[in-house]
């Protein structure tokens, strides 16, 4: 989509290529997150008793809050061994959340308003849950695709493969549609009335950013949970 002024268009190499700007924005967010998490890691390592939370609001408090909430929701969905899958799901949640929130700052494009950024995340989730399924069940994982009756298996196999292939696609399109739609609404209304009115849509954008990052992480968790679950 056409976008007006962006801060990254001031940089020399990526000025006139929107794709390069998006890639740079993604790298920028990844770098910011890396620096913040390294700082938090150091502060936890240095503190004499890491179990006591810090008094003031800090990045450490923020990360503890987010990770605790993520683990709780994952335990509700997968079960008690959900912490094994936290590294991927937690990183995805925080990364997508920051990408979405960046779109609310004037002069920045959210990287998640591009199909390829979301596609990369979705394909990683797809490969990861299949890998975890095979790791958990071995070759018996293929039984998940075969359906309940053995003579229906050829039919069910095709249907299941299509529905599994559709999962990363729907993850990708859902995030892209929500964020780019939200960004377009914000752009149109701040074009119509530059003052006061866009605040409503900024608040809406805050909610959309949070909910979409949450939905992406939760759906990935559900897919992993379905892949590694044992039938009782």
């Amino acid at each position: 989509m056409e976008h007006g002024f962006t801060w990254f268009s001031l940089l020399p190499f990526i000025a006139d290529d929107p794709e390069r700007q998006l890639i740079f924005t993604t790298i920028f967010i990844a770098a910011v997150l890396f620096i913040i998490s390294a700082k938090v890691f150091n502060s936890i390592k240095k503190s004499p008793n890491p179990l006591i939370p810090q008094k003031k609001l800090s990045f450490q408090n923020f990360f503890e809050l987010v990770i605790q909430a993520t683990v709780n929701i994952m335990k509700d969905i997968i079960g008690h061994h959900a912490g094994k899958y936290l590294p991927l799901i937690g990183s995805l949640f925080i990364f997508i959340l920051f990408c979405n929130l960046l779109g609310l700052i004037p002069g920045f494009l959210p990287p998640t308003s591009n199909l390829y950024t979301n596609g990369a995340c979705a394909i990683i989730v797809f490969l990861y849950y299949n890998y975890q399924g095979f790791k958990e069940h071995g070759i018996k994982y293929l039984k998940h695709f075969a359906g309940p009756l053995i003579y229906l298996a050829p039919l069910m196999f095709v249907i299941e493969i299509i529905s599994h292939l559709f999962r990363p696609f729907s993850l990708m399109v859902r995030l892209y549609g929500n964020i780019s739609g939200d960004h377009a609404v914000l752009a149109i209304f701040s074009g119509l009335v530059p003052l006061v009115v866009p605040v409503i849509f900024l608040v809406l954008g805050l909610m959309v950013a949070l909910i979409q990052a949450f939905v992406f992480a939760t759906l990935s968790t559900v897919y992993i949970g379905l892949a590694v679950s044992h039938e009782h």
């Binding site: 509700d76 729907s170 859902r174 892209y176 549609g177 929500n178 939905v215 939760t218 759906l219």
Partner: protein, 109 residues
């Protein structure tokens, strides 16, 4: 005579209004092309409009019955939150497919 003049005026007015539309087509826009472009625009608008209609109805039902559930049993609100958001996301994704199709159609215009 008077009818004739009114008809000319109406046609002139229509041409005046539609001139920006024709102007955007550029050199390639023949009379045939403008029709198909209009149809593409109509299709894109109808796609997202109908999808928003259906998705709104579906999400309204989901939100209504979950509020009813919370009103009957406020303690269940926390447990209902994740399935509720997931249900809304699944309904919404269908609308978003239509949005993407409308968007793709727009690039074809």
């Amino acid at each position: 005579m008077r009818k004739w003049r009114t008809a000319v005026m109406v046609i002139g007015l229509m041409l005046l209004i539609s001139s920006p539309v024709f102007a955007e087509e550029g050199a390639a826009g023949a009379a045939d092309g403008s029709m198909s472009k209009g149809l593409i625009g109509l299709g894109a608008g109808l796609a997202i409009g109908l999808a928003a209609f259906g998705g709104g109805l579906g999400q309204g039902r989901a939100a209504g019955s979950s509020l009813e559930g919370i009103a009957r049993n406020p303690g269940a609100a926390d447990k209902m939150f994740v399935p509720y958001i997931l249900g809304l996301a699944f309904i919404e994704s269908l609308v978003l497919y239509a949005f993407v199709i409308a968007f793709l159609l727009r690039t074809k215009m």
